[in-house]
């Protein structure tokens, strides 16, 4: 088997292993810990032993843990997460529209933040120590420090409630209307996500681009008399590609977690706000499903970045030991 294929399959295998272990963590956290689900649901009424035992029986909490896990995992693989404890409807049905909403939100944020950070990252590296570079660096340093809800609220204050009243302060996307007609509601949350993640990525990209630009092989290319355009495009760019890919994956992975606070802040009906509600309500099946989903996105994003990096680096591609 060619070493390249072997390498990629190994990575995929590792990803699957990680997901498997993730599912164990999710399961263990929500069903295997003391203070179990039945108690959570019954609350005070758990004192009533009979009802408590009955509920445990009903939820299948009496079976040995491994069996419970196997059963649960079987359901998960079939995308069956059980019913929500709060609304007694299939989790998948309740999440469907929310997943869609969050997906669009993240997509918008990614579509803006990825090109912007790639552009700013490389430009600031090329125009190092200029006023442009310094101001972008200060700005990104500041933004990168702030928690997402701080950025969100500042934007809200600026554009919705205090200074300008251009945009709606909350984003209650209706499940009835198509998303395309409610895009205005997506603006503030998407902008918040973008401003939260782009600066961080820009700084990383700037550092790795500078490393490429100061490398021996770029110096050699210049000493060969190559025009600067060629030096950048043919020599610098391919080597900056791998870090750019990894950074993009980081970007996406981060967004998967950033939605939680941002959606809650803007009242946006997505999986993030669903998670907050579910946690508050101790709605275990919902919590399990959403955590699994978010973690999977994360693992998948990193896996894709890993594989793309391998494909793009000749050293790794030829399976060099």
């Amino acid at each position: 088997m060619p070493p390249l294929l072997k390498l990629i399959l190994m990575r995929i295998g590792l990803g699957i292993l990680t997901l498997f272990l993730v599912s164990i963590v999710v399961f263990a956290a929500t069903q295997a810990l003391p203070g179990d689900t039945a108690q959570a649901i019954l609350g005070k009424e758990a004192v009533n032993k009979a009802r408590y035992e009955a509920l445990r029986q009903q939820l299948g909490l009496n079976r040995p843990m491994v069996q419970q896990y196997a059963g649960w995992l079987g359901g998960v693989v079939r995308l069956d997460f059980g019913n929500s404890l709060v609304q007694d409807e299939p989790v998948t049905k309740l999440l469907a529209r929310r997943v869609e909403n969050s997906f669009v939100l993240v997509a918008i944020a990614a579509l803006i933040s990825i090109p912007v950070s790639l552009l700013l990252g490389s430009l600031t590296a090329l125009r190092r120590d200029t006023k442009f570079d310094i101001s972008v660096s200060i700005g990104s340093l500041g933004l990168a420090s702030l928690p997402e809800f701080v950025i969100g609220i500042v934007l809200m204050l600026l554009f919705a409630t205090q200074l300008f009243h251009w945009l709606p302060a909350t984003s209650p996307v209706s499940p009835v209307l198509p998303i395309s007609q409610q895009l205005e509601l997506f603006i503030l949350p998407a902008l918040t996500l973008t401003l939260a993640v782009a600066p961080y990525i820009t700084r990383i990209l700037r550092a790795s681009t500078i490393e490429v630009l100061e490398s021996e092989y770029v110096m050699m290319a210049r000493l060969k008399g190559l025009p600067e355009r060629l030096v950048l495009n043919r020599h610098a760019l391919p080597n900056a590609l791998a870090p750019a890919l990894q950074v993009t994956a980081l970007n996406l992975a981060w967004l998967a977690g950033g939605v939680v606070v941002v959606e809650y802040l803007f009242g946006f009906p997505g999986i993030g706000s669903a998670l907050v509600d579910s946690v508050a309500n101790r709605d275990m099946p919902m919590v399990q499903a959403i955590c699994l989903l978010i973690a999977s996105v994360y693992v998948l994003a990193n896996l894709t970045a890993d594989i793309l990096t391998i494909l793009v680096s000749p050293r790794l591609r030829t399976g060099l030991r």
Binding site: E216, Y217, L223, K224, G225, H235, P314
Partner: protein, 607 residues
């Protein structure tokens, strides 16, 4: 330093001057301290000028300046670099791009870093032809490419050209760089220590290639190096740099036969002599770095000839004979001194001594593994008391592996017996009894890596004392001072950190650390490979004296055959994990039996 206008008629008038550097000055940016000052060089068609210098000499920065290029942190502050009359430093950016890779090309020190890891070598070779507009068609360029590769003895088939740099060996990478440099038949080539990272054998090939191509195409070549032995076989003229200035220049013979600058003479005296006739003499001290250079002659603190005037004012250029220039107030006296006085005959009594002593280390049929492969095959050797055995070989020969096995630092599988005074040694040093660990001390190759940068010298030296002895605080201090004294270092260094010391001093501290344990045996693993030639000589002097005076047994690992006679009585020549020849130093080097030894001897450059 050299001036094109005063070339005498008797010398090289027949050849034109191609490269004329005048008053080149390069400074650190932004502090403005000078790295190089008032550098002037002249190179003619088909001539090779060796630019020789040690650390902090500034020779590397001169190299890239000839193409009007400096890395971040330095800038060219003055002077002229004329190629066929045109000043490179005054050119427009477009013109500059035209001559880079065209009229003047550059061969880097480390091609593994200078070749783009993401591009195939075919692309990188072709582009230098394309961007200088060679040939009217792709076919013509491909033909030229094939010719270039043939000249450097590399294949030019499609398969090979599709390789990436990491798929080539170090020697092959360097040849690719040379091919690129000669591609457009340049007028001037700047070679920046291109063989430093290569094995002696590969280095010999590369030097041959450079010599042939330079002569056939009549290229003016600047060969920057620290290795006088290399340059003595390759260069027609030599310029010696010290602390940013050219202090002497002339033909090879003029400098080697009768150098007129104290540094030149001392440098020559510190080159290892493979014939063993001349003992190594180092130069104490170290060269001042940019920003620390005095207003007078920078060599004064280390110079045997210094007078007060030297401290006050830097000597001007003095032309002793056409083409032979020197900057020294006492040049005539220095030159007049007969060469013989510099030569100290080596004490040969040691190698003739009969072997009646006990065997300290006995290695019997040892095979060592490294990740499932055999690194050593069936090695048998022994080291006797008060003797020094040199392990010589190129990289990958297994010499370091063997040393590490003996020291207990090879954490992989070992088959066979290694005995210490007749008793078997545990594979891992930690499993050995304390007395054994104390008796065998190991000195590492890199002075930058073997001392903990977060500890003071005192803390570093106290480590073996704490491990091996029960001493009071005062006793410990006493022993540390004694160890420092043995390696000729000042006691004030105890409170300093390693980065405040020069490379040579750090290596002495490493030796002191070994001595502090009061060992029976020292294993020196390429301990001078990272040091300047003059510093190396001093360290070898020290080690030889220690071995003699303290009766230590020593295992001396090195890749430099020329060093062997200066320190060892017996030598084992290794190749690919085996000992190919083994015996007394004089016997092996004067009359080698094995083919590999003969080859190694012929490839090792000598003065």
């Amino acid at each position: 330093m050299e001036s094109a206008t005063t070339a005498g008629p008797a010398t090289t008038a027949a050849r034109d001057v191609v490269l004329n550097v005048e008053g080149l000055r390069i400074v650190l940016d932004p502090s403005g301290h000078d790295i190089d000052d008032d550098v002037s060089l002249v190179i003619r068609r088909g001539e090779v000028l060796g630019l020789v210098g040690e650390s902090a000499s500034g020779k590397t920065t001169v190299a890239t300046s000839l193409l009007d290029y400096q890395r971040r942190g330095a800038k060219i502050a003055g002077g002229r670099v004329e190629i066929d009359g045109q000043d490179v430093l005054a050119m427009s950016p477009a013109a500059l791009r035209g001559i880079r890779g065209g009229a003047i090309s550059y061969v880097p020190q480390d091609s593994s870093a200078s070749l783009n890891p993401a591009l195939r070598i075919g692309t990188q070779l072709m582009e230098i032809l394309e961007c200088h507009g060679f040939g009217a068609s792709t076919a013509e360029r491909e033909a030229r490419l094939a010719q270039m590769m043939a000249e450097v003895l590399l294949p030019s088939d499609k398969q090979f050209l599709r390789r990436y740099p990491h798929q080539l060996s170090g020697g092959q990478q360097q040849r690719v760089a040379i091919a690129m440099a000669f591609a457009n038949r340049p007028k001037v080539i700047v070679l920046d220590e291109p063989t430093t990272a290569l094995d002696v054998t590969t280095q010999a090939h590369v030097l041959d290639t450079v010599r042939d191509l330079t002569k056939s195409y009549g290229v003016a070549a600047l060969y920057v190096t620290h290795d006088l032995a290399v340059v003595s076989n390759l260069a027609d003229r030599i310029a010696v740099m010290y602390a940013g200035r050219v202090i002497e220049s002339g033909t090879r013979d003029e400098l080697f036969a009768a150098g007129h600058h104290p540094y030149t003479r001392k440098l020559l005296a510190s080159i290892p002599d493979i014939t063993g006739e001349r003992a190594l003499r180092g130069i104490p001290g170290w060269a001042p770095r940019p920003g620390k250079r005095p207003s007078g002659c920078a060599f004064t603190p280390r110079c045997d000839w210094a007078v007060d005037h030297c401290r006050e004012e830097f000597p001007p250029v003095e032309e002793l004979s056409p083409g032979h220039r020197v900057r020294c107030w006492r040049s005539k006296e220095v030159g007049a001194q007969a060469a013989d006085l510099d030569v100290h005959l080596r004490d040969k009594s040691l190698s003739a001594r009969e072997t009646e002593e006990k065997q300290v280390i006995s290695v019997r049929d040892v095979t060592a593994f490294y990740q499932r492969k055999e690194a050593l095959h069936g090695i048998t050797a022994s080291l006797c008391e008060r003797r020094c055995l040199a392990l010589v070989g190129e990289s990958g020969s297994g010499k370091t592996t063997l040393a590490r096995c003996i020291a207990g630092l090879h954490p992989h599988k070992i088959v066979g017996d290694i005995d210490f005074f007749g008793k078997a040694l545990a594979r891992d040093a930690r499993q050995r009894p304390r007395a054994t660990r104390q008796a065998i001390q190991y000195i590492f190759q890199s002075p930058y890596s073997s001392l903990n940068p977060r500890k003071t010298i005192g803390q570093i030296l106290s480590q073996p004392l704490k491990v091996f002895f029960q001493l009071s605080h005062d006793e410990m201090e006493g022993r540390m001072l004694k160890a420092l004294e043995q390696v000729a270092l000042d006691s004030s260094l105890l409170s300093r950190y390693p980065d405040q010391l020069s490379g040579g001093e750090r290596q002495r501290v490493a030796i002191a650390r070994g001595l502090a344990a009061e060992p029976t045996m020292l294993i020196c693993d390429e301990v001078t490979s990272w040091l300047d030639v003059s510093v190396q000589a001093a360290v070898i002097e020290l080690l030889a004296a220690l071995q003699r005076d303290m009766g230590l047994s020593m295992l001396f690992v090195t890749h430099n055959l020329a060093l062997v006679r200066s320190i060892a009585q017996e030598v084992a020549v290794m190749n690919e994990g085996r000992i190919v020849e083994y015996g007394l130093v004089d016997a092996v080097l004067d009359d080698p039996q094995a083919d590999y030894t003969k080859k190694l001897l012929s490839d090792t450059p000598t003065v």
